[in-house]
């Protein structure tokens, strides 16, 4: 669902490898840094404590089931199938997304592809289409779109922009001169591409792949429609079939273990060594690579990609709207569902953008091994199915909160904020890294108070990144489904929940308008996001 997740992954080099020029990013060894930022650490720890709630819930429930109960749930026959299904799908889709995302980014950023400005927008719009709408679009039209091959097709088309966006940004910011140097030293075309171009984009590619893999682990709606069983769909079955919350929690722990593997794998692959541009003097644009005879095939490839990723879901929604049997039944109207969705999205996005600041400041300005771990640990939330987070929150409010706010809008917004926190963190961190700490120091030395400095200097510089984080969370909320079903106030519908109610009753005609409105309101934040990448890359060129 969270195809809204973009930006390069965690780690220091994002969304584009920071220029090693005039603006040194990240921690700078200075005497003043010795003082421990107590307030920041306190606030950040509190935020992390809230984020840990779902994991605590899992452990409590699994503990309630007893060791033998958990083991018998985990080591049953189906688990093998689920691991196989989940892992092979994640690997294949991540690989395909890496190829498509990187290829498209290279063609758009580094070649004379005709209509680059148009393609640039078209290739990222699929990000605004909920995964379950893409699978609905395909599966409702063609029988063969199901099972493993259906899941590969649909998920690749739905999430490849997660790789494209960070790679495009990093290619834009990286030094094309290095390619030129390599070529002039007699290195072949292909090897130059592999060694230099891919090397420059390595961090961004890995970051994008991390997000894709995490999305694969937590995806539910699309796989449910395609009839493909993964860990997450099975966790839902446990929740919804056998009155067995402990069983679901035991399976969720396996999912957490899988996502730890993904995080560790990404960390290991990222490895050491960074590639950046040579310095301030290298900021020049080279003429784009000529595609020559490859021009037509490349153009055709972009056309096909757009038709598949954009044309089919939108076209099928439009088709069903006019051709689906329409039964006049009650349900939320499109405007009221839209209003609900928008207000939840705005609230969660505001909460997340604010809550990520302390952690991001810590990570960027006061980095240490423990604090880095604190920050990385929040990514686990991404792989946690929404239903687990929602159940955790209802468990804690019932158990310790006297049922306060249960099934109320604020609790649902809190749930969204927890689920999508890592997305906001990625964006906020990246942009804070670009607001040099030296400017803070300067302002402080001029007698400005600390919070004033934060507001007037740091946040202004980090503005575009904060906006990107905001949009990212907003996009994800628009398409969230499973936590919504559990925690939404009774009688209220979001666009996603109403779409789902109709889709699962085969009322395609009625589901379609909700799909189209979801796409429409997600398109705007997607556009803002793409502008953010454009601008951040641009700013980097200016500052170098």
């Amino acid at each position: 669902m969270s195809e809204a997740q973009l930006l390069s992954g965690p780690g220091p080099a994002q969304p584009a490898p920071a220029p090693a020029g005039a603006v040194p990013p990240g921690p700078v060894p200075r005497a003043r840094r010795a003082r421990r930022p107590v307030t920041l650490i306190t606030v950040a720890s509190l935020v992390c404590a809230v984020l840990a709630l779902p994991l605590v819930f899992l452990l409590v429930e699994a503990d309630g089931a007893g060791t033998s109960g958990v083991l018998s749930m985990v080591f049953r026959r189906l688990t093998g199938d689920l691991v196989w299904n989940t892992v092979r799908l994640s690997l294949v889709v991540t690989f395909l997304c890496a190829v498509i995302g990187t290829g498209a980014a290279w063609c758009i950023e580094r070649t004379d592809l005709p209509g680059r400005r148009v393609w640039e927008v078209l290739v990222i719009v699929p990000l605004a289409i909920p995964d379950f709408v893409v699978s609905f679009g395909w599966a409702s039209l063609w029988n063969w779109v199901q099972g493993f091959k259906g899941a590969v097709l649909v998920m690749t088309l739905a999430v490849y922009p997660l790789v494209y966006l960070p790679v495009a940004a990093s290619l834009r910011a990286a030094d094309p001169g290095q390619e030129e140097v390599a070529r002039s030293l007699g290195v072949g075309r292909v090897r130059t591409f592999l060694r230099i171009t891919l090397g420059q984009a390595k961090g961004a590619i890995l970051g994008g792949c991390l997000l894709v893999a995490m999305v694969m682990l937590a995806e539910y709606g699309a796989f449910e429609i395609l009839g493909y069983q993964t860990f997450t769909t099975e966790i839902f079955t446990e929740f919804s079939l056998s009155f067995s919350v402990p069983a679901a929690c035991a399976l969720s722990l396996v999912l957490v273990a899988l996502s730890l593997l993904v995080l560790a794998g990404e960390g290991a692959a990222r490895g050491r060594g960074r590639i950046s541009r040579a310095g301030g003097f290298a900021a020049r644009k080279l003429p784009p690579r000529r595609l020559g005879r490859a021009r037509l095939p490349v153009l055709a490839a972009f056309g096909v990609l757009t038709a598949l990723a954009l044309g089919v879901p939108v076209g099928s929604s439009v088709y069903w709207m006019f051709d689906g049997g329409a039964h006049a039944i009650a349900g939320a109207s499109v405007p009221s569902a839209l209003l609900t969705t928008a207000s939840y999205g705005l609230a969660a996005a505001a909460a997340d953008t604010a809550a990520t600041l302390p952690l991001a400041l810590l990570a960027v300005r006061h980095s240490s091994r423990v604090r880095l771990l604190l920050e990385r640990s929040t990514y686990l939330v991404l792989a946690m199915p929404g239903v687990v987070t929602a159940f955790a929150l209802s468990y804690f409010t019932e158990r310790y909160g006297g049922g306060l706010l249960y099934q109320s809008a604020p609790l649902l917004v809190l749930c969204y904020a927890i689920m999508f926190f890592p997305l906001a963190l990625v964006g906020v961190k990246a942009s804070l890294a670009r607001a040099p700490a030296s400017l803070d120091d300067m302002a402080r030395s001029l007698g400005q108070r600390r919070l004033v400095v934060l507001y007037r200097v740091t946040l202004r510089l980090a503005g575009p990144g904060l906006a990107a984080a905001f949009c990212l969370v907003f996009l994800s909320v628009v398409t969230e489904l499973t936590a919504t079903l559990l925690l939404i106030p009774t009688g209220v519908q979001t666009l996603a929940s109403q779409f789902w109610a109709y889709e699962s009753n085969l009322s395609y005609g009625q589901a379609a308008p909700f799909a189209l409105v979801m796409i429409a309101i997600a398109a705007l934040p997607s556009y803002v996001l793409s502008r953010f990448f454009d601008r951040s890359a641009h700013t980097q060129e200016m500052t170098t």
């Binding site: 029988n143 199901q146 009839g227 079939l241 689906g324 209802s394 604020p410 559990l486 009774t490």
Partner: protein
């Protein structure tokens, strides 16, 4: 940042105001947790609100999730009534002591074989499990006469199953009861092998996939086929229905029911809703395709279906009782052992 936080807090407070639970003009309202199809529930709720002036706030989700929620919510549960497609969720809540007794007059509207053995829930409608098949992929004469034969190797690749579907559990329970554990496990293993990749999440998907020719046949409740035909039009429905032989464990009549939650603070209004469901008016809505697209069989107040289906009285299902079906946990354990869950 404080400004941002304050803004977020204000927004949150504003959101709290736009919550759903609205009361009717006379202030009476109940909350309904519904696992029934949205369209059916909507039609019944709208008629009830018109007839009584009591507002019904509907919360729709999987009924087992709703049952889990009611147990987790405990004494503070906002739910007044639960309305489910099948009886295991109701039996589960009954075992947990979460249900209030249904009024005798309400129970009396429905034949007792369709009601809770303890009188804690009332049956509202029924449907039959049948074969759905696509004539372009399999001839009617080739269809299995018994659900047990579906596991035969001659149906390799032709069968669709939905092990997660709550409607599948009663069939498993009946096979277990009639033929014993060993046979049931062998049967499930055969089904799994025959289904291959045609393992679907629910009956809607089986109906849809068979209809589109993705797979030859499967078992669904009869009303899914009628609903599908109403939704997409007879011209788009080449699939057909067939029945197992009388008394076969695959031939079931399942019951949809409703109950009042013990902790409800609106007991009288909640009981009125149950009474309405089985009243002639409520049953006519279920039985009349012009009023709802339920296509389930009415079972109360002597109302019969007007949907042109094979009449309920002519069905010859397996004799298993709703009490024997229980909360379905034995079936779930079997499905787990067979690797289908």
């Amino acid at each position: 940042m404080p400004a941002v936080l304050t803004g977020a807090a204000l927004l949150g407070a504003a959101l709290a105001g736009c919550g759903g639970a609205a009361a009717g003009a006379d202030g009476q309202s109940i909350t309904l947790y519904s696992g029934q199809h949205v369209q059916t529930t909507d039609a019944l709720v709208a008629a009830f609100e018109r007839a009584t002036g009591i507002t019904v706030n509907v919360r729709s989700n999987d009924e087992d999730t709703l049952a889990d929620q009611i147990v987790a919510e405990g004494a503070r549960s906002p739910a007044d009534v639960i309305y489910t497609e099948d009886t295991p969720a109701l039996e589960f809540l009954q075992e947990k002591g979460a249900l209030a007794p249904v009024r005798a007059a309400t129970l009396a509207r429905v034949p007792s074989r369709y009601d809770s053995p303890q009188g804690d829930w009332v049956g509202v409608s029924a449907r039959a499990s049948v074969l759905i098949y696509n004539p372009s992929l399999i001839k009617e004469s080739q269809l299995p006469a018994s659900v047990l034969a579906m596991a035969s190797s001659r149906y390799r690749g032709k069968v669709a199953i939905a092990p997660q579907e709550i409607d599948f559990q009663p069939i498993v329970t009946a096979v277990l009861r009639d033929d014993g554990r060993a046979t049931a496990l062998r049967w499930l293993a055969g089904l799994k092998a025959n289904a291959g990749s045609h393992v679907y999440p629910d009956n809607e998907t089986i109906a849809d996939e068979v209809n589109r020719g993705a797979v030859a046949f499967g078992v669904v409740n009869q009303y899914y086929w009628y609903r599908m035909r109403a939704e997409i039009g007879a011209a788009h429905v080449p699939s057909r229905l067939a029945y197992f032989t009388a008394g076969d464990p695959g031939y079931q009549v399942n019951v949809s029911g409703a109950a009042v939650i013990k902790t409800s603070r609106h007991q009288a209004a909640a009981q009125r809703f149950l009474a309405f469901l089985v009243s002639p008016q409520g049953q006519h809505i279920i039985g009349n395709p012009a009023k709802s697209i339920s296509f389930e069989y009415p079972i109360g107040s002597g109302v019969s279906s007007q949907a042109g289906e094979r009449p309920l009285s002519q069905l010859r299902p397996n004799p298993i009782t709703l009490g024997e079906l229980g909360d379905g946990s034995a079936a779930v354990a079997m499905l787990r052992q067979a690797g289908l869950l």
